[in-house]
Amino acid sequence: MKNSSQSRLPLYAFVVFTFAMWALPAEAHLNTTGMGPFYDGLMHFLMSPEDIVPVLALALLAGLRGASYGRRALFTLPVAWLLGGLAGLSSMTAQPHPFVAAAWFLLLGGLLAADAKVSLRMTTALAALVGLYHGYLNGIGMGQFDTAAVVLLGLVFAIFVLIALAAAFVVRLRANWARIAVRVAGSWIAASGLLMLGWAVRKG
């Protein structure tokens, strides 16, 4: 059973890579898809790499640490995202800071690459902070409260599914090379964070 699940990994990786290469125009704004606010929120998350990558990094980190960490991230992050989004809805204005986005990439990618032995409490705190920060930024970019709340629900649903899939995928990995591949992904995320930091400084 173990061997058969391991042998499917390259297949899954191939399929994911194929879809990743199938680039579509980013239709991340609510008036363009016409699918309704719930699906607009869902699609907004799926088409926003600045949101997806930290969530993915956190899910992979939690998955590497074990099932209990994965479960904690699974419930903490979406709830924090929802709370941050609701707080953002009642705020007037704020700008996402490129340095903070780069710092999230660096921190989460670095922890993942190092396979850091973070405690359950630390994982919870990281999930809460990521959720509150990104949720807040999502919230301030939305319109009227009644529609935006449904958009937020769609967004949070997508986050929940992504964490569940990614963390569960990593939790069941036993082969050493597969766990190293996850850590290599972390190093790529951290390296992207370093470059984003350079971009942020260049733009001033």
């Binding site: 850590r183 470059l195 350079g198």
Partner: protein
């Protein structure tokens, strides 16, 4: 239709063909779609042969040295290269970048050619040192008006793929003829590096 008759690979290939046949509109200009940033970034490291030689050599050397170098070196290179890229983006000058890039291909190729086996720390330090030159050159050449995030991700992923290519070639190292083949590949990298050094000096 009984799908059990087909192997998972055949099913995946059929899916890939289906996906690629679903032709989409070409959003070829930077302002039209963010994916342009990803593809531009992905293309950047593979557009220069001097970079390609050094990155493949890192993978070859890692494959020769075996675990843990086989994954430590390809992790160290993109991280330090990104640091060099950050310095380039910030406008921090680094003298002799072209010489450093050419020298990296020569020395890393020589390490593969002669199958040099230094301690892991020394190998990682050597790879990291030269990665700064590669990253700095990329950082100073980055075009304006792209999506910073997607460009950076494409850039790093392409670098990782080049290392993976080197590791993939290096897997033949387990056989006697494969060991000779990897060393020949190292020799070719040395020749390529020498050519770029000659161009830089001339």
């Amino acid at each position: 239709m009984n799908m059990r008759r087909y192997s998972p690979l055949a099913r995946a290939m059929a899916l890939a063909v289906f996906v690629f046949l679903c032709a989409q509109m070409a959003f070829a200009h930077p302002q039209k779609g963010e994916a342009v940033g990803f593809l531009t970034g992905f293309r950047h490291p593979i557009s220069g042969l001097d970079h390609v030689l050094a990155m493949v050599a890192v993978g070859l050397w890692g494959a020769q040295l075996g675990a843990p170098a086989i994954w430590v070196l390809p992790v160290a290179f993109p991280m330090v290269m990104a640091f060099g890229g950050m310095l380039g983006l910030m406008g921090v000058p680094l003298p002799g970048t072209e010489y450093g890039i050419a020298l990296s291909a020569i020395l890393l190729g020589a390490a593969v050619l002669f199958e040099i086996r230094p301690p892991l720390g020394v190998a990682a330090a050597l790879v990291g040192f030269f990665a700064i030159f590669h990253g700095h050159a990329h950082g100073t050449e980055l075009p304006a008006g792209q999506s910073a995030l997607l460009y950076s991700m494409g850039f790093v992923i392409a670098t990782g793929c080049l290392h993976a290519l080197g590791i993939g070639i290096g897997t033949v190292h387990r056989w006697g003829w494969g060991q000779r083949l990897v060393r020949v590949a190292g020799g070719l990298v040395v020749i390529g590096g020498s050519f770029f050094m000659w161009k830089a000096v001339a």
